[in-house]
Subunit: 353 residues, 2 copies
């Protein structure tokens, strides 16, 4: 059983109030405790390994310094997100980690727990097919809960969103390919959710770049059910195979392929390897996201990265934490979403034509 203030008070013959003040070096009203008292109490507290009960403190003050981090799933990249979040929350904060793996009722339960713990703010990374939007709206409005959403916006809810610049990702990528001399550029995505705003933006970016150049578009979006473990090697085999079939069936084959994320690109690399398609000689390949493997010399995937030296997920986490603490501190949100800038990184899988 941890030491309490009144134990110290009893032992030392002071009142709990005095001990409380002494430990926190505070003065009651105008008058302060005698230096000696403070010394005695602090010394004893340290000896006993006293630690204030945060639960009691929070109950008394009706505040808290715990934020909730609610993720739809923990997959590749989550570690960077969390790293960004943890780096950016100042030391006073402590964070609950909740994960619901796409399970809607679990999502409600986790939110319930977080609210039960009286979190002072919420960071939410929702899955594409979030069915609990009303709950989030409720929490934001009724509880007046400071909240930041990641990589996705919630309709009808005035809450800041932090996300990568998806439009410019493909827009810049397509332009870069054009600059390398490519005209027949194919864009391929594998969609995991019904309303993937991300893919919509990607498609728009690609489309606009192609239309500006006045060239024919080659787009193909391929559905796949089940988000879980999509990032495992070989799990996108079928989809990738389909993409390459489309590519091969074109009378005049595209000279460049832009795929919706780097994992897909890795799979394409594998499939091309097996089919004997030479990259970049027969086909220039570009991914999106600059995942950690892409920069390995062995891979050298051309892709689109976050500006700066950090992974996009880390930056998203960092910005989200920054925004949330601002809101908690009562600073006004300017109403704008945070869209993180991107840059094209040309490596070994693309070449001039």
């Amino acid at each position: 059983m941890p030491v309490t203030i009144s134990q110290i008070a009893d032992e030392l013959g002071f009142s709990p109030a005095t001990v409380s003040l002494a430990i926190r070096n505070k003065k009651a009203g105008k008058k302060s405790l005698s230096a000696e008292t403070v010394n005695i109490i602090q010394k004893r507290a340290a000896e006993l390994g006293y630690r204030p009960n945060t639960l009691a403190q929070n109950l008394t003050s009706n505040t808290s310094t715990s934020v909730g981090v609610l993720l739809s799933s923990l997959s590749f990249g989550s570690e960077s997100l969390l790293d960004g979040l943890k780096m950016s929350f100042s030391e006073g904060y402590t964070s609950f980690l909740s994960v619901y793996n796409g399970d809607i009722s679990r999502e409600r339960e986790e939110l319930d727990m977080l609210l039960g713990h009286r979190i002072c703010g919420l960071i939410a990374a929702l899955s594409g097919d979030c069915k609990n939007l009303d709950l989030y709206r409720y929490i934001a409005s009724k509880h007046n809960m400071p909240m930041v959403v990641i990589e996705r916006s919630i309709e009808g809810l005035d809450v800041p969103v932090v996300m990568a610049d998806h439009f410019n990702s493909t827009y810049f990528a397509t332009k870069a390919l054009q600059n390398l001399g490519h005209e027949r550029i194919m864009y391929a995505a594998v969609s995991f959710s019904v309303d993937s705003k991300m893919i919509t933006l990607h498609t728009q970016g690609y489309t606009q770049a192609m239309e500006e150049a006045g060239i024919r578009k080659y787009a193909s979006t391929n559905a796949r059910k089940g988000v879980k473990d999509w990032y495992k090697g070989g799990n996108l085999r079928k989809q990738v195979s389909d993409i390459l079939e489309v590519w091969m069936s074109e009378p005049k084959r595209p000279t460049a392929l832009l795929v919706d994320n780097d994992w897909l690109a890795y799979e394409v690399l594998g499939e091309c390897f097996e089919r004997g398609i030479k990259i970049p000689d027969q086909l220039s390949l570009m991914g999106l996201g600059d995942y950690v493997f892409s920069s390995f010399p062995y891979v050298g995937l051309s892709t689109v990265a976050a500006e700066g030296d950090y992974p996009m997920q880390t930056l998203i986490g960092r910005e989200a934490a920054r925004l949330l603490t601002d809101i908690i501190d009562g600073k006004d949100w300017n109403g704008k979403d945070v869209v993180l800038p991107v840059k094209v990184v040309l490596r070994a899988t693309t070449k001039k034509i």
Copy 2:
């Protein structure tokens, strides 16, 4: 401001105690509340979106259902660990995530916060050069804190440890290479910390397998300072280059190379690619860990994986959570560490000789 029990009590003309009982469907002593009362109260509570204040509950009951998860850093693989942990903790638990990035004083602060929040258990993944061992001992003994340590043991502390079977990882790997006909097998590691028990075990496994076969050993351990971002592509360039120099300088070059983890193997793959060394024709390569990229067709790295279908980190997390909940539930720990079994996975980077 969230709804409280007494607000509901006032509004409905009941006492707080009655409301409390009704909401939790409990009976006071022998007698139970009238069904009608319960209905009325529960209905109103639901309407108002009442959620019990967990802080107050915990204060009252002097218990908690929050576990602390303290990680030395968030890097590649952490997401799997956390996934395993979250999957395995039953729904009643909520978890604090703490990260100290190798910073010793930060580590103390995080522990302090966790203790302040009166966690009911602790999962700790310590960095190699943990300077705060005494603190952990203190917490385990003085606070009698249920605790599980991951991938590392703490001397002088009777706390369960969950880790991969490091000895057999290299032992099995070496045997497997021998079975493929290799005799000149080189083992290379890059060490990040002074007292890497893991590398010691790896070396022992390799050594024993070689000695059992009565063949000469080729071992090389290479130091590298700074753990941060070691897993980024290219960051091990120098070390990998050194390893290959050693390999090439052997009058009779080893036909197989076993490296300490898959990331190193990826780097070796890259370096060999650039130097024109054909894998597996000129050199069979084997990693350790079966990281997610290894199973990509494009890579096909032979390696050592956890038995079963999950990443090792996930299994470690799962076991750690299971153990911790057992201890929290008062079940006796049998005194044995959990060593998770491994298996060799042969893919494209190794061949028969």
